[in-house]
C-alpha cells in the first residue's frame, strides 16, 4: 500500500509544479527574446521598472486569487483602489507630517471596509459575488467621483517621504517590491499550509459540502473578501506613492487586468484550485508582456491585440497541463 502510494505521489507533485513551471517558461522565453533584441531590457533600471509595475498588480492578484479560489470574484478592486488612493492622497496632502505607516493602515482600512460590504452582501444577502462586486464597482467609483469631483492631488502637494517611498530601497530592493513579495508569499503560505486556507479551497471546490462539513463558511468568506478589499486598499496607497498624481479615475478598468493575472496564473475561475504564487507570476507575466511589447517597438496598435492573444495562449497552456494531469490519473487508476 505504502509502496504504491509514494511513487504516484512524486509524480503528482511533480506535475503540479509543472503548472507554475509553464508560466515561468513563458516568462523566460519572453524575457530572453526581448533581451536578445534589446539588451537594455535587462538593465537595472528596466528590471526595477518592471518589478515596480508588477508590485501593485501582484498585491491585488493575491487577494483576488483567494476570492476566486472560493468560487467567487471581486470585480470592485479597481474602484476600491481608486477610493483608497484618493483618500490616502488627500489625507497626506492635508497632513504632510503623517508617517507612511499611517497611510498604509488607512489604505488597508478603507479597502477592508469595502471588503466587509462585499462579503456581507454575498454571504448574508445571498447575492452572487459577480453581481455584488459589479454593483459595488459602480458604487465605489461613484462615491470617489462625487467626493473628488474634478480635484486631482498632484505630486507637488504630496509630502516628499510619501513619494520617495515608492523608489526607496532596502538592500537594493524597492519597498514596493518588498511589500508585494511579502504579501504574495504570506497569502500563499496561508492558503497552502494553514487550516483556514484549505477550508477556503474546500469552499470553492464544493460550497454545499463545505457547509455540511461544518466549515465556518461565513467567517471564511467574509475574511476572503476583506483580504481582497484590504489588499486593493493597500494597492491604492502604493499607487498613490508611485504615480504621485491621483484623481477619481485612478485604477479604472484595473479589475479586468487583475482577473486576467489570476486566470493566467492558473487559478480556476470555478474555484477550488490554483495557487497564489501562480497569480503573482500571472501578474508578472502580464507586466512583462506589456513592457516587452513597448521595448520591442511593436506598433502601438498591435500591442493590445498581442496581449489578448497571449492571455488566451496562457489559458490554453494551463488547460493542457490540467488535461495531462487528469489523463495520468485515469491511467494510473485503470486496471486494464
Amino acid at each position: 500500500m505504502t509502496a504504491t502510494a509514494t511513487a504516484p505521489r512524486h509524480l503528482l507533485s511533480g506535475l503540479v509544479k509543472v503548472r507554475e513551471l509553464g508560466i515561468i517558461l513563458a516568462l523566460v522565453l519572453l524575457v530572453g527574446y526581448t533581451a536578445a533584441s534589446n539588451p537594455r531590457f535587462l538593465s537595472g533600471q528596466s528590471i526595477r521598472d518592471i518589478l515596480l509595475n508588477t508590485a501593485i498588480l501582484a498585491v491585488m492578484a493575491a487577494g483576488q486569487a483567494v476570492v476566486v479560489i472560493t468560487r467567487n470574484i471581486d470585480l470592485s478592486v479597481g474602484s476600491v483602489l481608486g477610493l483608497s488612493a484618493f483618500t490616502v492622497a488627500t489625507m497626506m496632502s492635508d497632513n504632510p507630517g503623517l508617517p507612511m505607516v499611517v497611510a498604509i493602515l488607512v489604505g488597508l482600512a478603507v479597502g477592508g471596509a469595502a471588503g466587509v460590504l462585499n462579503g456581507v452582501l454575498v454571504r448574508y444577502g445571498r447575492v452572487p459575488a459577480l453581481v455584488v462586486t459589479l454593483g459595488t464597482l459602480y458604487m465605489f467609483r461613484g462615491v470617489t467621483y462625487s467626493w473628488a469631483g474634478g480635484q486631482q492631488v498632484n505630486a507637488d502637494e504630496l509630502p516628499r517621504h510619501f513619494l520617495t517611498f515608492a523608489n526607496d530601497a532596502v538592500l537594493g530592493i524597492p519597498w514596493l517590491v518588498l511589500i508585494a513579495l511579502v504579501v504574495v508569499g504570506g497569502v500563499a503560505l496561508l492558503m497552502r499550509n494553514y487550516r483556514v486556507g484549505r477550508e477556503l479551497y474546500a469552499m470553492g471546490s464544493s460550497p454545499q459540502a463545505a457547509e455540511l462539513a461544518g466549515i465556518k463558511v461565513a467567517r471564511n468568506l467574509l475574511g476572503a473578501f476583506i483580504l481582497s478589499g484590504a489588499l486593493a486598499g493597500l494597492a491604492g496607497v502604493l499607487f498613490a506613492a508611485r504615480f504621485g498624481t491621483v484623481d477619481a479615475a485612478a485604477g479604472t478598468g484595473l479589475e479586468l487586468n487583475v482577473v486576467a493575472a489570476v486566470v493566467v496564473g492558473g487559478v480556476a475561475v470555478f474555484g477550488g484550485s490554483g495557487t497564489v504564487w501562480g497569480a503573482g507570476l500571472g501578474a508578472l507575466l502580464l507586466t512583462v508582456i506589456g513592457s516587452s511589447l513597448t521595448v520591442l517597438d511593436i506598433n502601438q496598435f498591435w500591442q493590445q491585440a498581442i496581449v489578448g492573444a497571449l492571455i488566451i495562449l496562457a489559458i490554453c497552456a494551463d488547460r493542457l497541463v490540467a488535461v495531462r494531469i487528469a489523463r495520468s490519473l485515469r491511467k494510473k487508476d485503470s486496471h486494464v
Binding site: M1, T2, T4, A5, P8, R9, L12, N193, Y194, R195, R198, E199, Y201, A202, G204, S205, S206, Q208, A209, A210, E211, L212, A213, G214, I215, K216, A268, G271, G272, S273, A326, L329, R330, K331, K332, D333, S334, H335, V336
Partner: protein, 508 residues
C-alpha cells in the same frame, strides 16, 4: 450474516430526537417523531422513499433546524446552529449523497476540519496522508490518498465518505444509505468496521432499504411512514414482513415478479468494444423481450460500457449495431432517435437537472416530440409529466417544484419516468433501484418485467445480486473491464456470479 440480539437498554440515550417536526413549505416532511440512540447499539431507521429519514438525519447533523421539538445529547437539550455544532457534539454523518471536495486530495477530504498540525500550526501533510492510508487499510480498499476526489466512482466516493466519518472518532455515527452504491464485499467490510465501533461504545444510526443489512447490523429499528413515527422496537422482535407491513401500511406481494417472455430478434449488438484504460473487448447482444444484466464488482466498468454504447462517452475500438444498423458513436441524440434510453447511475449529476421543475425534467428528452410547429407549451408537458409520475407513484407536491426537493427515491422515479416516456426499444438501466424503497422497487421490477414482456429489450446494470438473479434472463459478468463470464438464468447462482466477478474459477 448473523443478527446480534438486541439488548433492552437502560440508561440515558446518547442522542435523542424528541417530538421533532419539520416542514418545507407545504410539505410536512417530519411530524412529531421521537426515538433514542443508545451507546453501543446500532439503530436502523426505515421507511418508504420520502418518509422523512434523510430529513431527520439533516436535523441531527445541524443542517436543518427542527420547526418544533428538540434534540438531546446525553439527556441535555441542545440546539445546533449549524453542522459545526453537531460535529462538536461528536456526531459524524454520512449523507445520502456524497459531499466531497473534488479539487482536494482524498487525504485532505478525509482530514478536513481536523487536520493534524505541526508545531507552527501548519498542516502536517505526512500525518494526514498516513492517517488516510490507515483508514483505507482498515476498510480494505485501494484508493490513493493523494489523488484528487474528482473522478472517483460513486462507490469510491461513498468509501471516502465512510473513511471521513470514521476518522473523526465520533461518539455518534449516522449513516444515510451508505451501502446503496456498494457491492457485497465492501458492505461486509463496512459492517465489520461498524460493529467494532459499536462495540467500542459508539451509537450508530443506519438507514437502508435492504432488510438483510438491517437484520445483520442493527439491534433496534424505528419505522416511519409519511413523516410520522410508527414504532421503535428491537430488531429481533420483528420479522422482515412485519417491518415492511408497518412501513408501507399494507402487505406486499412477491418482490421480484419476473414474467416469462417471448424472446424476439436481436436489438443490440456490441462487438469488441474497448476504451483505453477503462474496458476492452466487450461483446454481447440483447434481444427484444430480454433482460440482460451486467454484473460485477464496483469499478468493473459496467457503467462505462453502457455509457459508451449510449454515446455519452466515446469508445476507441469496436462497434455498436442497433436494430441491424450501425449506431453513430458518441451521440446520445442518435441513440435516442434510434430508440435507446439510458437511466444513469448518478441521478444528481447525470440523471436530473435539480433546479428545474419535475415536469421539465420528465419531458426533457421528449421536448422535441411534444412541440407543435416547433413551439412548446406548458400544457403538453404537464399532461405527460402527470401521467408518468402517477404511474410510478411518485410522491411529490407540485409538478412545478424543483426536482431537487424530492426525496432520493422519488428522484429516482422521476429519472425512470423521464426515460420511459421516450417509449424506447432498448432500455438501459444503471442501478435502477438504488435508494428505492421495497414497495417501489417491486413496482420498478414489475414495470421492467412487463415492459420486457411487451417486447422491450432491457440492459440492467446492478450491484445488487438478488435483483440480478431475480430479474435477468442472461447475466454478463464484467471484471476489470472485460467479460469474465456469461450465464443464463438457469446457470446463475449467487456463488457463480460472485466468483466470476472476483476472478475465481467458476464452478458449475
Amino acid at each position: 450474516m448473523t443478527a446480534t440480539p438486541g439488548p433492552s437498554r437502560p440508561g440515558p440515550a446518547k442522542l435523542e430526537v424528541r417530538d421533532v417536526t419539520k416542514s418545507f413549505g407545504a410539505v410536512a416532511a417530519v411530524q412529531g417523531v421521537s426515538f433514542p440512540l443508545y451507546a453501543g447499539e446500532a439503530h436502523a431507521l426505515v421507511g418508504e422513499n420520502g418518509a422523512g429519514k434523510s430529513t431527520i438525519v439533516k436535523m441531527l447533523a445541524g443542517v436543518h433546524r427542527p420547526d418544533t421539538g428538540t434534540l438531546a445529547v446525553d439527556g441535555a437539550e441542545v440546539e445546533f446552529a449549524g453542522p459545526a455544532d453537531a460535529k462538536a457534539a461528536g456526531i459524524a454523518v454520512i449523507y445520502q449523497e456524497p459531499t466531497l471536495f473534488p479539487d482536494l486530495s482524498v487525504a485532505e477530504n478525509i482530514a478536513m476540519g481536523n487536520q493534524p498540525l505541526t508545531r507552527l500550526r501548519q498542516i502536517d501533510r505526512k500525518a494526514m496522508h498516513a492517517n488516510a492510508a490507515r483508514l483505507f487499510t482498515r476498510l480494505g480498499v485501494h484508493i490513493d490518498p493523494d489523488r484528487p476526489a474528482r473522478g472517483l466512482s460513486i462507490a469510491d466516493q461513498q468509501l471516502v465518505e465512510i473513511a471521513k466519518a470514521l476518522s473523526s472518532e465520533a461518539r455518534v455515527l449516522i449513516m444515510d444509505e451508505p451501502t446503496a452504491a456498494l457491492s457485497g464485499v465492501e458492505v461486509d467490510r463496512l459492517f465489520a468496521v461498524t460493529r467494532a465501533l459499536r462495540d467500542e461504545g459508539a451509537a450508530i444510526m443506519f438507514i437502508s432499504h435492504r432488510f438483510e443489512e438491517i437484520t445483520a447490523l442493527c439491534q433496534r429499528v424505528t419505522i416511519m411512514r409519511d413523516g410520522r413515527h410508527v414504532c421503535t422496537e428491537p430488531v429481533a422482535d420483528l420479522s422482515v414482513d412485519d417491518m415492511i407491513r408497518r412501513m408501507v401500511g399494507r402487505d406486499l406481494s412477491a418482490l421480484f415478479p419476473k414474467q416469462d417472455t417471448e424472446i424476439g430478434e436481436t436489438v443490440l449488438e456490441v462487438e469488441g468494444l474497448g476504451r483505453e484504460g477503462v474496458f476492452r473487448d466487450v461483446s454481447f447482444t440483447v434481444r427484444a423481450g430480454e433482460i440482460v444484466a451486467l454484473a460485477g464488482l464496483v469499478g468493473a466498468g459496467r457503467s462505462e460500457v453502457m455509457q459508451a454504447v449510449f454515446g455519452v462517452d466515446r469508445y476507441d475500438t469496436g462497434s455498436v449495431r442497433f436494430l441491424g444498423k450501425p449506431l453513430k458513436a458518441g451521440s446520445p441524440r442518435a441513440a435516442m432517435a434510434a430508440g435507446m434510453a439510458l437511466v444513469p447511475e448518478d441521478r444528481r449529476q447525470q440523471g436530473l437537472v435539480m433546479d428545474l421543475s419535475i415536469e421539465r425534467n420528465v419531458t426533457l428528452p421528449r421536448s422535441r416530440a411534444l412541440a407543435r410547429l416547433g413551439l412548446l407549451f406548458g400544457a403538453a408537458e404537464r399532461r405527460e409529466a402527470t401521467s408518468w409520475t402517477s404511474q410510478l407513484q411518485t410522491k411529490l407536491g407540485r409538478l412545478s417544484d424543483p426536482v431537487g426537493t424530492l426525496s432520493g427515491g422519488n428522484q429516482q422515479k422521476v429519472v425512470l419516468a423521464k426515460w420511459l416516456a421516450t417509449d424506447p426499444k432498448l432500455l438501459i438501466v444503471d442501478e435502477p433501484t438504488r435508494g428505492i424503497d421495497v414497495g417501489t422497487k417491486a413496482e420498478v421490477h414489475r414495470l421492467m418485467s412487463s415492459l420486457a414482456a411487451r417486447g422491450l429489450a432491457v440492459v440492467m446494470v446492478s450491484s445488487e445480486l438478488p435483483e440480478v438473479l431475480g430479474m435477468a434472463d442472461r447475466i454478463i459478468v464484467l471484471r476489470e473491464g472485460h467479460v469474465a463470464a456469461r450465464l443464463t438464468r438457469a446457470e446463475a447462482t449467487e456463488e457463480n456470479v460472485m466468483y466470476a466477478a472476483m476472478g475465481q474459477q467458476v464452478t458449475t
